[in-house]
């Protein structure tokens, strides 16, 4: 976590989630006694909102990190292509020699035929 403020916020949310989870059964029972199923659902919605906030912050970190290394994919593709180019170029040396062998052979035949 590069941003200490964000890390501190995540720590606080984690502590709040843990506090709720430790007392969840009792809190839900009290809510039910006071407001029925609607109160239970409302309390659980708050808990879910806290979890969503936690994951929003985590996802923001992923987005920030991606932005910091935004050129990485293109650079890696460029490196892959450059290596492939080297492979092609090395293969080409042999194929050029092969082509030259064929040409020299042809020249030989021309020399024999026409006695140049």
């Amino acid at each position: 976590m590069s941003d200490p403020k964000k890390a501190a916020t995540l720590d606080e949310i984690t502590a709040a989630l843990q506090a709720y989870e430790t007392n969840r059964v009792e809190l839900l029972e009290r809510a039910f006694e006071e407001g029925g199923t609607a109160a239970v659902t409302a309390l659980e919605d708050e808990y879910q909102a806290l979890q969503s906030a936690f994951y929003d912050l985590l996802n923001r970190d992923l987005i920030t990190n991606s932005a910091k290394y935004s050129g990485l994919m293109n650079e890696t593709i460029a490196a892959t292509k450059a290596i492939q180019k080297s492979i092609d170029s090395l293969e080409k040396i042999s194929s050029v020699l092969s082509a030259m062998a064929k040409t020299v052979s042809l020249v030989g035949r021309v020399l024999v035929l026409f006695g140049i």
């Binding site: 430790t22 659980e44 985590l58 994919m73 080297s86 492979i87 030259m100 062998a101 020249v107 020399l111």
Partner: protein
């Protein structure tokens, strides 16, 4: 005449090129190391992609576990309405982009391995033999064109090996720079993965531990808990069993993350050593062998 001039100039060019590459270094060793770096680099890229895939797949486990404790935490009177819970998701696009990114790294290393391990000099020798055969045939002709026989003398597979070694070194420098960046991204993401794993564990275990015993069917528990303990202890044993199961799952993923951390560090170390004026090949090989050990079971 034009053809003869072309032949002469082409062969001269090849001879000149071969001279440029004739510098003192051990091409065989460079090729061997390049191949090994390529293989281990692929392992690191593929392992990183696999661990991120595993992290994403834990989402379903987390969802099912949280749904179960959400039902169990409710008072019996509130069970007419089943709880609805949302998936706690790490951004799918971000996860998929990372998987693609680490796989691309593996592809780049696969290309480096091909560049290093292909015997281009042998391919060259075969082609050169073919050419020499043609030259020999011309030499049988009375009054062969002057110069042709001499031109082939300077050619050899060594020039190809030199170029291959030089290219491996050049691309290894590029890969060293890229690996530093990949390691940086991996390190920046690591706290996110750790918090995600910790939350999956807590959201289930902390909740489960607080569920009152009267919400468990002890006869059913007897079938799930194989240990020979008396009924009042079965609930606690079941909770401990579940905690151990989830902790093992989380610990295994954390071990995999640690392994990729360490593998990136070793890969960077190997590249760094290779760029030294006088690299210690023993150190490079030790780093690369360490990667193989670290990633056992992950690749």
């Amino acid at each position: 005449m034009r053809l003869k001039t072309y032949l002469k100039s082409s062969l001269s060019l090849l001879l000149l090129t071969s001279m440029v590459f004739l510098t003192a270094c051990d091409e065989g060793q460079v090729r061997q190391l390049g191949g090994k770096v390529g293989a281990r680099g692929q392992d690191v890229g593929n392992a990183a992609a696999a661990v991120i895939k595993d992290l994403a797949s834990l989402e379903q486990v987390d969802y099912e576990q949280r749904l179960r404790v959400a039902i169990l935490s409710r008072p019996a009177g509130a069970l007419q309405t089943l709880p609805t819970i949302q998936r706690n998701q790490l951004d799918r696009d971000q996860m998929n982009n990372r998987i693609k990114l680490y796989k691309q790294l593996a592809k780049a290393y696969a290309a480096l391995q091909t560049l290093s391990q292909t015997a281009f000099a042998d391919q060259y020798a075969e082609a050169a033999n073919e050419l020499n055969g043609s030259i020999q045939a011309i030499k049988q002709i009375p009054h062969p064109p002057p110069g042709i026989a001499n031109l082939v003398m300077g050619l050899g597979g060594i020039a190809v090996e030199k170029k291959q070694a030089r290219d491996i070194k050049k691309h290894s420098v590029t890969m060293a720079r890229l690996v530093r960046a990949y390691k940086g991204l991996w390190a920046a993401d690591r706290p996110v993965w750790d918090r995600h794993l910790q939350r999956i564990s807590e959201a289930y275990i902390t909740n489960l531990n607080r569920i009152p015993p009267d919400r468990f069917d002890e006869n059913q528990l007897r079938q799930v808990v194989s240990l020979p303990y008396a009924k009042p202890y079965l609930v606690s044993i079941y909770k401990a069993q579940e905690a151990a199961r989830v902790n093992t799952l989380i610990a295994e993923t954390q071990d995999d993350l640690d392994a990729v951390d360490a593998a990136f560090a070793q890969l960077e170390k190997a590249h760094k050593e290779l760029t030294e004026q006088e690299p210690s090949y023993t150190d490079v090989i030790a780093s690369l062998d360490r990667i193989a050990v670290l990633l056992q079971g992950l690749t």
